[in-house]
Amino acid sequence: MTKTYDALVVGAGIGGIRSALDLAQIGRKVALIEAAPAMGGLLQKLDHQFPTDHCGMCKSLPLTQRDNSSQFCMRKGLFHRNIDLFLSTELTALDGDPGAFHATLKRRSSFVDPARCIGCGLCAAACPVRVPDEFNAGLTMRPAIHLPVPQAIPNHYVVDLEACERCGACVKACPTGAVDIKGEERARFRVLIAGEKSEDLDRLSALIADMGFPVTHVSGGAQAVEAVAAVAADPESAVRLVILGPDLGEMAGERLLGRLRELSPHLPVLAAAGERAAAKDLLDAGALEMIELPPDEKRLRPWFDKFFMRQVSDEMVEIDVAAVILAAGFTCFDPTPAGDVLGYGQLPDVVTSLEFERLLSGTGPTGGRLVRRSDGAPVRRIAWLQCVGSRNLKQGDFCSSICCMISIKEANLALKATAGQPGGPVEATVFYMDMRTFGRDHQHYLDQAAQSGINFVRSRIHSVVPDNGPEKGLHVEYMGEDGVLRSERFDLLVLAAGARPPASMARLAEAAGIELNPWGFPKIMPFQPARTSRLGVFAAGSFNGPKDIAESMIQSGAAALGASRLVNLYAPIREKQPAPEPVYADVSRQPSRILVALCTSCPVFGQTLDGGALARDLAAMHGVSEVIPVERVCTGPGWESIVEAAASDRPGRPKPNRVIIGACMPYAYVPRLHQLGRRLGLDPGLMDVVDIYSPLMQAAREGAHPLEDAETSLRMAVRKLAGSEPRLSGSYQPVEQHALVVGGGLAGLTAALGVADHGFPVTLVEEQEALGGIALNVRRTAGGEDARKYVEGLVEQVRKHPNIRTFTDARVSLASGRSGHFLSFVTAPQGTMHLLHGATILATGGHEAKVYEWGYRVHKSVMTQQELENKLADGQIDARSLSGVAMIQCWRSREQARNYCSRICCQNAMKNIAELKRRNPELQVHVFYRDIMTYGFQEEMYTEARRLGALFIRYSPDNKPRVEFEEGRPVITAFEPILGRDIQVRADILALASGIEPNDASEVAELFGVPLTEHGFFQEADPKWRPVDFLKHGVFACGLARAPGSMDETIASAKAAAQRALCVLSEKRLVPGRVVAEVRPTLCSRCGTCIEVCPYHARSLDPVLDRIVVDELLCQGCGSCAAACPNGASVLRGFSDRQVLDVIDAALEV
């Protein structure tokens, strides 16, 4: 049966997860598929992220309706009510049209039954195979049957078919019979070989028979049909595979395959032929693959074996979806081919950045200790080499965008990790070409790193040789900027390997029907930052070009908005009838009656534990009314028996009011407890699942005392539940389904349309008299698109949109309230009006910074890059009459006054150079720069500018170019670092890259209670994981007011913000999570300590009530307040002092 979803998300890395969560939160059903056997993507292997230097993945979990999803570390996994996760699954075909796609998915079997695998690890211990472990980037070895990541929940073993030798040791070792490598299936896999008898076919048939398969050989196509037809009805002896040889007689080619398909629609057919051309007919007609004749035993055996394994275990899934989001991420460049110079692959101390992250990780090969891989000696000096596989015409002329920051982060981490070692922290040196710290806060990060002692050397390392002296290590030769060749000894060399499209890109692009760009990433439509060449198929995260986490999050949000808009067109967001709120019985007056259900399915249970004794001990505990054994809780009947026991009133045993289930994998049960709560009329907060199998497994391996461990866990749960109080009435925040957008520039317009297209009314407030903002100044984008036309079209759409009300020459004069319910006053020429809205999007924009130096505003020959672009477009400047143009980049950017990169100036310069050179190829162009920030695919523009003959001269902030004027014409003198002397340039025009400044948003920020950065940008909740959110829920930021960016980046952030706003607006009411803090006013002394410690700004002092109040939507139940409160007035629900102390007692008493 074909299942229907609203959207299909391909790839369960963080990009895909973000898209899936964004859609799931607005009530869309999402199928999330992942080709790997575990979710989390590349980030599973990276423990820390810049610029915070720690993880924070969990921050992207939903904040409202929290009980719909898991609320634990996302590295372990993710459950959401609206997301179905398919692991080891690939998209193989996508038919149909936007809104009505039909997707074919291939689920690869893991050969381990997830329902039966208990993660004990006995199979892995028995497996004789050892292959490099992908999780540790190949630095350690693993068996063929292995855990893809160590911490996933649920964590099932999987068989790596490529490595498996089918010895069957794991099958014998498994205590639950979960592993099936299809040993018995072999005898039933009947293979039919058809074709005129020949030596080759005989050998083929003998070979296959020798592998344990029953083989029948018939002489031609007609006979094959007969043979298949004869046994088709009997499933036991049916033909499972047909191999067609070269001479099939009359019945051949398409006719034969058509006939076979009629008889048995899913019968796989292989073609055996001497060469590909001979088998072409059969392959075109539908034969799966070709077997080469004469059969090469060495190759054929493993190939055929795998083919058989896949045939009998893989499964095709068909689903109908309205939209598809591709988020397959990227892979890292493999520097092995470049190894002749850098020694990667030959010298063990030369590692890639990914391998280095694993070396630093606690779950890595050395447990986080930094030692030389060659001899285990402690590491004292580490070098990083940037741009390996990036910015290289031979390997890929694009910038991978993230490696500079990753290397700074790794150097930081290395310093931290070795701070305590004797002899002090390591010496870290980063060899780079341009330090591309183009993110808003990244320059600051670089400055800090330089201050903390990390050396930055502008040079490419040219050769690495092992040091044969007593100290060992590596000799790294490089040339300093002064032109002197140096040789230094390092213990470890880290290659900052760039990004590459995922290995499966070609297959995926073909299956999804999308076009690729010259670098092998998806082609993205202009002004549609997440749209691929196929309508209805979106690209999210780093899949559409290398990106850091923040931008991946934004891209994924934009992709989700595109998908949800499409879904909305075909199936508008259903007026969600809030499911009748479950009524839970009030059991607060009843003594606790706990039902304990113990799962006994696992054989280890019987072997290591006296079930009867355990049950007796537990039943004797105060508050426990009954202990029942259940055969396999995870199955339907098992679950029903718990429901039955919990629902029944028996004489002498009243109905239980609390439930504890002792089973394996407790997290898997969390969603089911909600169903149970509904059926029993019992608050799910009064139920718990205890993992009793982990201690049992450990006991089975190490001979500890399983009874004690398992019983202790159960006792602790009993104590905790006995003390918990049911929560009777939830607090709900009704939602005003209306959005306010402040700012009518590109970001504001895009965000307003994004929300309004989903049917929610939007009010757009613009300070200026006209909509469009600064984007109207842009003539052409870097890609050559007409930017002004696009923005004008956008203004037109907003003006005409039935759901958008626009106020120009207006501002927000007052605002109050919280997520779901804001009250704002808008002052416009028409008067002041009030507005109730549930979400607020702040897009107050930015402007080109003003320059008052270097002759700007004094000499007509000096202008900003933007003015140069406009004058060229208007024809005010005739490029053919010029002899020279000079440009100075980074005017007052990336230093004290404005210590951030404005991102767009370098690409603007490249754009202007291309235009100038197009009009006058003889024109001399000189660019004075600090670092050229042509990140991503813009690198091509830089290459082109240089090819056209523009000269780039680097300057350092402490030795800036000097500008003088002779008859109004600029003469620029600057120090040339390569030649080590001053050079002088005469030009007709001097263009200054003045950078972007945010508009003054202090008033708006104060009104909505959101913070600004020191440079006046909006300060997001988290620079990585929540880039468009504020800590204050329900308020979102986008566009230049958030961070400098190109038009496409502005559009992406606006779409992401709109999508986040939809998460609020699509709810009728907002429901906080179950575990939240509360205040006991009688004990509280209003000291305010809890307000300060709350990391979510969920607490405030209500001056009217004279009470500390908790915003339950913001509270994430971390418990900081409860720990900090000196009076015990702050309490975390479900973790009261009494409960916690009881639990500790229970832990100690056995």
Partner: protein
Amino acid sequence: MPSAETEREKTAPLLRIARSKALETVREMVAGCMQCGTCTASCPNAWAMDLTPRQLWRLVNFGQEEEVLASGTLFMCSTCYTCTLRCPRNLPLTSAMAALKRLAFEHAHKTRRRAAFYRSFVDNIRSYGRVKETALMSMYFLASRDPKLPLAFTAPALRLLGKGKLHWPGRPGRGSLGRLMDAVMNREGRP
């Protein structure tokens, strides 16, 4: 950092960026240079050069014809192609170097002294079909027009003589390399 470098920094005149017609073809070959220095770091002869290859390309791009052609760097290139192989911008550096050598001979007055050895070497091979050390050195001394130069070579020459490694140019080998080189010159249309 060697003092020569600092010296030049102090004394070098201000470099005025210009455009040189003569260097135009070479400039086009190396216009894509991003000054990463891989060429210089890979060059086995860089230690003997007065300008590193990176500096040379920079001067070519800045149109400094005088300095480029007066540089001895051109004649220190042994055409090993390592720089071309390693250049991340895929620039034809060895070919550019060869083009500069050709230019240098065209502007012989500027490069006479630098090119003296190079030219004597090639002439020596042309006439003998192999290197005849004694003939080579005498041609070199004559070409350099520097009376002090032979004195500098006296000590090594005596040592070589003592070990019987120096031979007077007896019967010339008269190899066929001269004709070969003429044919190439003809084909390339050079005088």
